[in-house]
Symmetry: C3
Subunit: 308 residues, 3 copies
Amino acid sequence: MRLKRKDILAIEELTKDEIELILSTAESFKEVSEREIKKVPTLRGRTIINLFYEPSTRTRTSFEIAAKRMSADAINISTSSSSVVKGETLKDTARNLEAMNPDCIVLRHPSSGAPEMLARLVRCSVINAGDGSHEHPSQALLDLLTVKERFGRIAGLKIAIAGDIAHSRVARSNIHGFAKLGAEVSIAGPPTMMPSEIEKMGCKMFYKVEDAIRDAHVIMVLRIQLERQKTGLFPTAREYSKLFALDSKKLEHAAKDVVILHPGPINRGIEISSDVADGKYSLILEQVKNGVAVRMALFYLLMGGSRE
Amino acid sequence: MRLKRKDILAIEELTKDEIELILSTAESFKEVSEREIKKVPTLRGRTIINLFYEPSTRTRTSFEIAAKRMSADAINISTSSSSVVKGETLKDTARNLEAMNPDCIVLRHPSSGAPEMLARLVRCSVINAGDGSHEHPSQALLDLLTVKERFGRIAGLKIAIAGDIAHSRVARSNIHGFAKLGAEVSIAGPPTMMPSEIEKMGCKMFYKVEDAIRDAHVIMVLRIQLERQKTGLFPTAREYSKLFALDSKKLEHAAKDVVILHPGPINRGIEISSDVADGKYSLILEQVKNGVAVRMALFYLLMGGSRE
Amino acid sequence: MRLKRKDILAIEELTKDEIELILSTAESFKEVSEREIKKVPTLRGRTIINLFYEPSTRTRTSFEIAAKRMSADAINISTSSSSVVKGETLKDTARNLEAMNPDCIVLRHPSSGAPEMLARLVRCSVINAGDGSHEHPSQALLDLLTVKERFGRIAGLKIAIAGDIAHSRVARSNIHGFAKLGAEVSIAGPPTMMPSEIEKMGCKMFYKVEDAIRDAHVIMVLRIQLERQKTGLFPTAREYSKLFALDSKKLEHAAKDVVILHPGPINRGIEISSDVADGKYSLILEQVKNGVAVRMALFYLLMGGSRE
């Protein structure tokens, strides 16, 4: 089985069937990482380039491990703003990498839309590993897999997403993903962090976390970008934390069997309290585990031949 | 087939026969990168260390992909000036790496002659991936391959090289390479960028690009190092560009079937205009493609057993 | 054969039998690095993460080569203080990496005890690649192997260690290791660099290098951390060098067949003179060679199945 598309750029453009194919493929790959020999020969001789214009140890490591467990060759290129090739545009970098015949480029970029531009320029597959405040599709897919595994379904569930919705590519990808699979999404955050086009996205909007999580099956807490404080989005971490951090007190407003997701890395005591992050509701580590499986599935569905 | 030498340090010291062997070997490896499974088992179990004292995403990536497509293990060591092991000389680094039994060290270094010193210190093979303003042999080899593929020969062709000849290891390697294979090389650039020993190299020298390219089959445009501006080599990028950038107007002085090379990364609008870089004459991406094949060939000819 | 422990955190906690098993296993792996095909399939499909919170090209490279020669997949994560994931504790990093199902994490960390904390948090194996001024067990093991190969035994030998004993994890690991295997350890260094609990460690203490090395079979010279100068531990490099550097003059006080070790990288002319470092007594490069073998042995004994 193989996806009919060349690239994975955004959850917004995937169909329900495509998302379900990715999730079921990822489920079937989970056991590979549980084996003693965590490796299948499926993508031997394929070249995957991890091209990261923003530092992200976690996501890069997940993609790299996924590539190696599929037996592909992984090449890492990390271009911090200081070391990026002087005077070269992303377009020229793309064409040059393309000339080396990679099978897939995984791109993390601070500019929304960069992976789409890259995908139009190259014949090989492109996976968006997070672009600006646009999308982070593999994150949403691993979140969907984690929720689906817990509840056996996505349709009909109530999902609450709390934090800086407006600037979060994780939120955007998840809103699209959960909506496509039939869940109902509520969002909560300070007014300065609410997206302007939110009505179009079909979410319920709340300004109090307590209200958003009231009937939720799943609470997704977003990471707050503390460096955004300077831009006036929120006054102090303490104040944000008081109003919006998910702690055991706010959690009393949620259902008893609610589960909690966070894309990581966690700011303990800022957007989530330690007892909640480490508590019984938390599926945070299951998300990380599923991240490897989802990325193996994406590589397989974009490049794979027959699976052994 | 195997080269009789241990190292590839400079085109100047290679014979015509050696260069031709490398080019024909590289041609035979090109199809590996076109396959679905881009990998031959030839160098399985060999250890290649990419030791880069200057940042070079592009060249390092090309060598790393070449190593992996030959099934060798590639180890990257990038030592920016800040992170280089404190107080350790290149000599000590070399001996220490040698003690780990690598089969080949690929060295990029800001000092001319560093790879030669390294080669004398270690038993394993050394490939010069660019040293100061001395040589960059794998770049010249990929340029030669690109030209040979286009014209079916090198002998008798007229090659024009434009830019900062004096400080360019690419120019130096190419002047030697094209001369050895029987081409005629002309150079053009500002007087401050002309090498003093140029007559000995057997090139025709021009101060106007238009004159140098008049009968050329191939125009090689060098990357201008904008940071050299401070040293007084040229007054402003704009002025350099006006006189020396290859644009469609200057290109009118060249033959209709001329081809254009550039070692990359391109400074668009500085030493080459975008329409020329992206135009029908440009072989720039073919150069990058051939770079992987040339490096596979070098690894094979230095370390290889029998090829499958 | 396999170690009964999950982790290698400190020489202090290993038994004599365990150390001897590691050394004999390492000896058997040395020939792999001498072959043309330097690779055994033993650890295929295992995932090893090199997690380095301090820069260390040399140690990281040694572990990476060891992993690849065992056919394991190696993932490098280098987190300089500037690029470390903001706001994430080592605990969270550990749990997240664990969720990706690695088989072994190799940790270098500036804080003493960090690997032990990591080991308690994760199910996979942890190897301490140097933690603060605590221990650096793989360094001591390669030192033991080097001495054992030269003398055919450890028991009964006299070992002198010179330099900043108090702050050296290399010294601490070696004092434990040589003592466990029956050698007698003397230490020498300035009073400000002597550990307070030294009597408990069972060493003889000297303030003059000449006295410590008088009957020694082995002299181990420690690397001086020049950046410690600011803290008042020693006045100037020149003065330290005059009193404590091992040069040919001081070496006259040692036995004629003494051998010299240094963990590297060497500060030439500071703690050791060039003629001594490069002279006939020096086993410094043999140490590096043994480093790869010891690390292959550790990987094998922690993760291995049956060896071919």
